[in-house]
């Protein structure tokens, strides 16, 4: 079976198209976890870490809905006409997306699959997302 490429990214860092919308990386499936997984902002001790760190992965895995999503992605990756690229995006690409990507890679390797990982924005400092209406502020990762 050919290797599968897993990509993590942050929507805030993506280039934008003429319509002003972010252009996600090309993939067979793009999983937007900004709303699906709670922002782990409450876990202040991981703010300066990134998704390659086991502590961050632990926090992400214990976020409500994460285990189900991980199982779903692993099943999808194992489909007979399997995908070659799966991209996972969150706000800044530093915690949720990269952590989940590492966890998914671990799971797929455990199932005997060859995996290539690409973290597009994990190396960038965290950034605040400012909603358009400027009504609230959220620490985006």
């Amino acid at each position: 079976m050919r290797p599968i490429r897993l990509i993590s990214f942050g929507y805030l860092h993506l280039p934008t198209g003429p319509d002003g919308l972010p252009i996600p990386p090309a993939a067979d499936r793009i999983e937007d976890v900004r709303d699906r997984l709670r922002d782990p902002a409450a876990a202040r001790d991981i703010l300066d870490l990134d998704g390659l760190n086991p502590r961050v992965q632990d926090v992400v895995l214990n976020t409500p809905g994460a285990r189900e999503l991980l199982a779903n992605l692993a099943e999808y990756a194992g489909l007979p006409a399997g995908p070659s690229r799966i991209a996972i995006g969150c706000g800044g690409g530093r915690h949720r997306a990269s952590g989940l990507t590492e966890l998914l890679a671990h799971e797929l390797r455990h199932r005997g699959r060859e995996v290539v990982i690409e973290h597009l924005h994990v190396h960038l400092p965290r950034v605040l997302k400012t909603p358009t209406a400027l009504t609230e502020q959220e620490t985006a990762r």
């Binding site: 190396h123 965290r126 400012t130």
Partner: protein, 227 residues
């Protein structure tokens, strides 16, 4: 006796492929420096920034890249997002600088891979301590002024990654402070102002994220009044 030397720059025969590749890379770098690609603010493109004799790759901070004189950037390893670049970037100090203030006059143009030859990473050098780019974090300082004219910092809020967020909270606090209800009974007046976030002093800051800054102010005033 006359000794005849070969000129080093003109050895006989063709260049070895690896030498030719290096020459091509060097020529590409010179061409890129001579004819930089214009950078469009807000496009999400990485930029090439001059730091002394070096050129570094920098990623503009989303929403904070429209300034005419200064923008906020993070320095990035030239080979990012390669896995090897992640580790190398950590080793050479690319990933621990946070957001930095970058004068737009130091921006050469949009980042091109040809510039990689001029980076600290290509020379395997650690980034210098002084990059000429101060941190781009901001804070809000609440200064308490006593009746005898002396003053002190009552509360430091931060970090704020964007100036407009810091300004918004400072404005909100000053509006609340205008009616004097918050500081009634205390022997001082308070004003809020934006300030640079002092990273080395971050233990003295209160993180405003997910908190109501007015509540934080009330608590600080109550604490100062009782002590």
């Amino acid at each position: 006796m006359i000794r005849r030397f070969r000129r080093c720059g003109h050895p006989p025969g063709a260049l070895a492929p690896e030498d030719q590749a290096l020459v091509d890379q060097f020529r590409a770098m010179l061409a890129a420096v001579r004819s930089p690609e214009p950078w469009t603010p807000g496009s999400g493109q990485d930029v090439a920034v001059c730091i002394g004799p070096f050129i570094e790759r920098a990623h503009p901070r989303p929403g904070d890249d429209h300034g005419t004189e200064e923008i906020a950037v993070a320095l990035v390893h030239p080979d990012a997002p390669d896995a090897a670049a992640y580790l190398h970037g950590h080793q050479l100090g690319y990933t621990d600088r946070g957001w930095l203030r970058c004068e737009t006059t130091t921006i050469l143009g949009a980042w091109q891979p040809a510039y990689a030859l001029r980076t600290h990473a290509a020379a395997n050098l650690h980034l210098p301590d002084d990059l000429g780019m101060p941190p781009a974090h901001y804070g809000v300082h609440l200064e308490a002024c006593r009746s005898d004219g002396t003053s002190y910092t009552l509360l430091r809020l931060g970090p704020y990654p964007q100036t407009r967020l810091a300004s918004r909270d400072a404005d909100r606090l000053n509006t609340e402070l205008e009616d004097q209800a918050i500081i009634a009974g205390s022997a001082f007046t308070v004003t809020a102002a934006t300030a640079l976030f002092n990273v080395s002093d971050q233990g003295n800051y209160t993180d405003p994220h997910e908190s109501d800054v007015v509540d934080l102010l009330r608590r600080a005033v109550a604490q100062a009044t009782t002590t």
